[in-house]
Amino acid sequence: METLTLLAGGFAVALTPLNIGLLLLGCFAGTLIGAMPGLGPVNGVAILIPLTFAFGFDATSSLILLSSVYFGCMYGGRISSILLNIPGDEPAVMTTLDGYPMAQQGKAADALAISGVASFVGATVSVIGLSLFAPLLARMAIYFGPADYFALYILAFVTIGGIAGVDPRKTLLSAMIGLMIASVGIDPISGIPRFTFGNYHLYDGVDPIVALVGLFAISEILVLLEKKAADRTAPIGITSWLPDFRTIWMTRWAVLRGSLVGFVSGVLPGAGASLGSVMSYSVEKQASDKDGTFGKGDPRGVAAPEAGNNAASGGALIPMLSLGVPGSGTTAVMLAMLISLNVQPGPLLFERQPDLVWGLVASLYLGNVALLILNLPMIGLFSRLMMVPTWALMPIVAAVSFVGVFSISNSVFDLEMMIFFGVLGYLLRKLDVSLVPLVLGLLLGGDMERNLRRAMSISDGDWSVLIASPISIALYVLTAVFLCLSVWLTMRDHKRTQSRVTEG
């Protein structure tokens, strides 16, 4: 009951004309920024921070603006994933797996609608979780130690095996390349540069967004350059302009499962939206890929990761607000801004500044509704993008990629890196190696390694620390179950194909 009273107070704060205006502006700008290859929520939020200072907004209004950009980016990231096979930001990588095949089958409108609705449900679930349990969940998350995080990443990596590609050896190869790239840069634990070849530009490691734009956008352009002119001018047919609501309803369980998994990943500080969408996708694939349709345009393969990454971004606000620990890169930037606005996130924020916290929560509820309303009518417009002939589209993608990457750090070196990754991505595609495990290795590898080494420093080199806590044991058991299940599924599919062959 107390929560409802506080929430009502929050709505009163959020419903001022200024805050509603900022909310709508943030949602709109966020969707655009998220849709651009290279520009993700971190950049969106960082771009708008000087603006909030320039206009002198108070902390609550600034936070509402930035959070709506954050959520808007999570919505927008899926658009280019589905239509162009180019993820708009890191967590949207998983959406390419089934989203792009759907678009190629002419079901772009369906895919966009499913992802929009899934994003809405995921975000709403997480905001409800945020308003009901934030302080409680934050208290529980602190018992997650380095060894437990390591077990969590092991679980994530094991499930990657089942995600993409036909040949497990190629999946492994791709993930290994990702892990190797993740180890470039100054090692934060020992302070020693690794694989930097004395080049200072490599000291901070490889920016995942630069690698992502190179691997997906630039390699896409290279692949297209190779095709015959006739192929390039033929746009993909669209079977329907309007989304089919039965398809959306079909994904309801995928959306709910994805939301829960994503939310839990988001609450754990440091795990974030990328892990959320990975885990949601793998869980969904294990749970419902009975006919091997995942990866070939299954609507549930779009719904689960989209619900997951939006739920995770809401979940990530919990450790940020109630512990002052950022759950993702974006929340880290928001945290820095809060501190400079003289707001001290931490255990007392909910008591000391209830207006700010509940105003934010209320604006998230409103923002989600606004995003859904804003996004659904735009489906028709966005899916028409598929009709733009590639000769016109690809130069725009190239220009946007270069400007987007350059605007992050004003560095020509990053552009060179992007081209390098473009060529790498092109070569791997030619070899039929899926790029998704590579990106996941790159995104998750660093944290996995650091948590292993933290656990090792705590135990002074005793490996038994890894299975010393009930949390990590539970996670390893889950990992084993996943492994057995996927082996069993593969065997069964194999038998089926064989029996079909013999029958034929």
């Binding site: 655009l32 920024i33 651009m36 520009l39 950049n43 960082a46 771009i47 921070i49 000087p50 200072f53 998350a141 602190i142 018992y143 130690g145 380095p146 100054i186 090692d187 934060p188 634990i189 020992s190 302070g191 540069p193 200072y200 530009h201 000291y203 901070d204 500080p269 440091g270 512990l323 002052g324 620990v325 930037v333 820095a336 801004m337 501190i339 400079s340 003289n342 001290q344 996130p345 931490g346 255990p347 007392l348 924020l349 993008l385 009709m387 733009v388 016109a392 589209l393 725009i396 946007v400 400007v403 987007g404 605007s407 750090s409 004003n410 560095s411 933290r454 420093s457 705590i458 002074d460």
Partner: protein, 324 residues
């Protein structure tokens, strides 16, 4: 065709949004933050830039440029090679930058730049969980000296980073000789380390006060000592290490440098402007809001301080084997 136009309009709009960061009116002075927007160096440049123009110490606005890379090394190399004599350029730095130089991680030595001033500092503290049996700094230094392997310490820097080094300075002052025996765990931030301590994973945290002040207010952690000359204004009850017989200070100061070939005249003019800025209410308020304690060291005095700090860090880094 209409569709193409709409699409490009959408892209164009977003492009404009991304470019607007750099579209600041041209002006003489430029401050480079060697990091992404949002961090401490970015705050230094943006706040100092804003106040410099508010006080009319510079013409027009100060342009703030973000040049992340190599924990400041990319910017250091650029200034040393391309703009060593540019008197309009100032660059944000801090204890972190000096640590990197001390450990040979910048492409040029400390003498390649002229250090202007420090304007404020985050104060280092040593914290334990509120339920920890360790009650005072004396008890902690005793444990560290006699059974260094029995406790796990942590902070927001890696081995040989500033959080680690200042804890080792305390441990050495308290009688620990083989500094490598103390276990150290790196976390991504001070609050990460504190929450892991609350979860029972580690025993002691050494980090900046600003980031973890919320946990002191809530009573989740206990601060054994602040590594400052005077008690922190916002927490007058927390004793300094000095008052407990450990003569160590551990400021994480925020300051600025300029190119190594800037003339004495221009150098002194900058120091003077920064002193005026430091004395203004604008800066005193902004610093406190960001969790800093305003502290001034400028000109020759600051040059000397930076060199002393570099030497102390290099010594400890050698002792723990981070450098040879």
């Amino acid at each position: 065709m209409k569709i193409v136009t709409t699409t490009s309009a959408v892209f164009g709009l977003a492009l404009a949004a991304s470019v607007s960061l750099t579209a600041v009116p041209a002006s003489a002075a430029e401050c480079i933050a060697p990091s992404n927007p949002g961090g401490g160096w970015d705050f230094t440049c943006r706040t100092i830039g804003r106040i410099l123009s508010e006080l009319d110490l510079v013409e027009g606005n100060v342009q703030v440029t973000n040049m992340p890379g190599g924990v400041g090394a990319v910017t250091y190399a650029m200034v040393a090679n391309e703009r060593p004599a540019d008197a309009d350029l100032i660059v944000a730095t801090s204890t972190v930058g000096v640590t990197q130089i001390a450990q040979g991680r910048y492409p040029a030595p400390i003498d390649a730049m002229r250090y202007l001033a420090m304007l404020g500092a985050d104060v280092g503290v040593i914290a334990v969980d509120d339920e920890s049996p360790i009650q005072s700094l004396e008890e902690l230094t005793e444990i560290m000296a006699e059974e260094p392997g029995s406790i796990v310490t942590a902070g927001s820097s890696g081995a040989g980073g500033w959080d680690h080094i200042r804890l080792l300075m305390v441990a050495r002052e308290g009688g620990l000789d083989s500094l490598g025996d103390l276990r150290w765990v790196q976390f991504d931030g001070g609050t990460d380390a504190v929450t892991q301590m609350m979860g029972g994973q580690i025993d002691v945290v050494s980090t900046d006060m600003g980031e973890i002040a919320g946990f002191v207010d809530s009573g989740d952690i206990r601060i054994l000592a602040s590594l400052s000359d005077e008690p922190i204004p916002a927490f007058p009850d927390i004793p300094t290490a000095k008052s407990q017989g450990i003569d160590v200070t551990g400021y994480n100061w925020r300051g600025l440098y300029t190119g190594g070939e800037v003339s004495d005249e221009d150098y002194n003019a900058w120091v003077e402007k920064l002193k005026t800025l430091y004395d203004s209410d604008n800066w005193q308020e902004a610093a406190v809001e960001f969790g800093l304690v305003p502290i001034w060291r400028g000109g020759a005095e600051f040059e000397e301080y930076v060199r002393e700090q570099e030497k102390a860090m290099a010594d400890i880094s050698r002792d723990i084997g981070v450098i040879e």
